[in-house]
């Protein structure tokens, strides 16, 4: 039986499978279906300094092999998280990654400070949310702002910081390097790709926000390419995500250079997807005589 443990930013996880922010809430709903303690980690719903009500509905529309969402970071705020959700999450024995978002650098820093002495394991710096007017992706599309916001957040917290990159950029490697030189302990990618759909009968965009973030199997090839480029550009661990629905997808990501993966939209199709992916990776390792999951990271043989 292969060793599935991984270590991201000095945080040990049972296995390399993490549920992605925004698709898994704070874990409670899916814990009704299976014990979430079997996961490597949970990236919590994007959390802001104060409660946020999010965008007007409709907030979702299905597309071919994917979906667009425009939730807009609805969340109860960081204090509520620390008081109501964190204690329960920690009791589930799973690595807790807090996805943090804000509309100003100060906001990001304040949250980072608030959680600095908490029990969370990693801060995932969400500078790639395409569904909020100010902040979000604005910080994630220029190398300078990626580096500086990473730097400032790092100064305000003792927690390791994982920077979540946006795929809506010309050069993902440049963004990865910027995060690293800003002091990122890890990077995660990809967030959603901005997209749109229009109802030809009403002539209205299906989403009240007009545009939204594309996720699901449709984006996997783009995500894999970007993870490969990012992993080749930095030395810090890369957490790969974007359309992962099967163990094969997860293994492709790890071969491309991801030290761990996040599973998002697949949870909606099959609540057991993360569990099946963990089992599938184990089987692949055993079938191929690999005794440590870390041994496949970055092992793609480029032509």
């Amino acid at each position: 039986m292969a060793d599935m443990r991984v270590c991201i930013a000095d945080v040990y996880m049972k296995n390399p499978v993490i549920t992605a922010s925004g698709t898994f809430g704070f874990g409670r709903e899916y814990n009704e279906i299976y014990p979430i303690g079997c996961l490597g980690g949970i990236s919590c719903k994007g959390t802001t300094l104060n409660e946020k009500s999010g965008n007007e509905p409709p907030r979702i529309i299905e597309t071919h092999s994917g979906m667009l969402n425009s939730v807009g970071l609805q969340n109860p705020g960081v204090d509520h998280f620390l008081k109501e959700d964190l204690p329960w999450l920690k009791s589930q024995d799973v690595a807790v990654i807090l996805n943090v978002a804000g509309s100003t650098v100060e906001e990001y820093c304040k949250i980072a400070q608030k959680v600095s002495d908490s029990d969370i394991d990693i801060i995932e710096l969400n500078i790639s949310c395409p569904n909020v007017k100010e902040g979000g992706v604005a910080f994630g599309t220029s190398a300078n702002s990626v580096e500086s916001i990473t730097q400032q957040v790092k100064m305000h917290t003792k927690k390791p910081v994982m920077v979540k990159l946006s795929p809506n950029v010309t050069d993902i490697a440049e963004m990865a390097r910027a995060a690293q030189s800003g002091g990122a302990d890890a990077i995660s990618l990809i967030n959603t790709i901005t997209g749109m759909r229009i109802d030809i009968n009403t002539k209205r965009p299906f989403l009240k926000n007009n545009i939204g973030g594309l996720s699901g199997r449709a984006v996997f090839p783009v995500a894999l390419r970007m993870v490969w480029q990012a992993a080749n550009a930095v030395s810090v661990p890369v957490v790969g995500m974007g359309g992962i629905a099967t163990a094969q997808d997860a293994i492709e990501m790890m071969l491309a250079g991801a030290s761990a993966v996040q599973v998002g939209t697949a949870n909606f199709t099959d609540a057991y997807a993360p569990v099946k992916i963990i089992q599938g990776i184990e089987k692949y390792l055993d079938d191929n005589g690999v005794c440590d999951v870390n041994d496949i990271v970055g092992q793609v043989k480029i032509w």
Partner: protein, 255 residues
């Protein structure tokens, strides 16, 4: 509130009206958890998103439940292509459901594909029930017999008058609400209908609960896409149809 994701065997398939299907599904565990007003989230072939379908009837003895849906989109079209002996991958039961522990008389109002879930309420509830069911036209009328078996009075309206009373359910509601004293009104159907029902209920000081619809993602309350605006006192907020609903106190809904 507890739910599961399992296979459910299709034991019966029936086309109630053009494109409107009734399926009987077997899964004892899911049935044992179910109550009126809840829904199941069904995997549709290769589709990314499941489709939420209201539970139309629950048979705890035989561990089967019925769903009724209109095959209008790609997902429901796939569903209607499945036959007896096939299995659906079902996540549920989901949502809060209706409170069936009622004293006094209950009025159930259903419009179109909002009619089936009210049948489940009528069956579960012990108090006497009347029902007003609205359809587009005669050939869209479904479940009339089923309602008559469990309700004292069943009124049917059609938009074109081809069957029952011509007009909207709300026309009939205004009259009946005067004649008969109801302790609660439960309604499911298109938003404009629900809003109109809520107004009349408020005017007549009758408690009213409505079952809302919104495009859904996870179905369990994790992804927050199925938002609907509700007010508690003066504070407005986004609740979520899949977890906080689908049933809401009509007075809390911001129309």
């Amino acid at each position: 509130m507890s739910y599961i994701q399992q296979k459910a065997l299709i034991v019966k398939k029936e086309e109630l009206a053009q494109g409107i299907f009734r399926y009987t599904l077997k899964n004892s565990e899911l049935v044992s958890l179910s109550r009126a007003g809840q829904f199941v989230h069904i995997l549709c072939g290769e589709k990314t998103l499941r489709r939420p379908i209201s539970i139309c009837s629950i048979d705890k003895e035989n561990g089967v439940f019925d769903i009724v849906f209109s095959a209008k989109g790609e997902g429901t079209h796939w569903m209607s292509g499945q036959n007896k002996g096939d299995e659906y991958d079902v996540l549920g039961p989901l949502g809060n459901g209706f409170d069936t522990d009622i004293k006094g008389r209950v009025l159930l109002i259903g419009g179109g594909i909002g009619v089936p879930p009210m049948l489940c309420v009528a069956s579960e509830i012990l108090a006497p029930c009347d029902a007003i069911l609205g359809f587009g036209s005669k050939d869209a009328v479904i479940l009339e017999k089923d309602f008559k078996a469990v309700c004292s009075n069943v009124h049917i309206t059609t938009d074109d008058g081809s069957f029952g009373r011509k007009g909207l359910v709300t026309d009939l509601l205004s009259e009946i609400a005067d004649r008969q004293k109801y302790s609660v009104i439960y309604a499911c159907g298109p938003a404009p209908m629900l809003k109109a029902v809520a107004m009349i209920a408020e005017k007549n000081k009758i408690k009213c609960c409505v079952s809302l619809e919104e495009r859904m993602g996870c179905g369990v309350g994790a992804c927050l896409v199925c938002a609907c605006k509700t007010k508690h006192g003066n504070i407005e907020q986004f609740s979520h149809v899949c977890k906080d609903g689908p049933v809401f106190n009509a007075q809390e809904v911001v129309w």
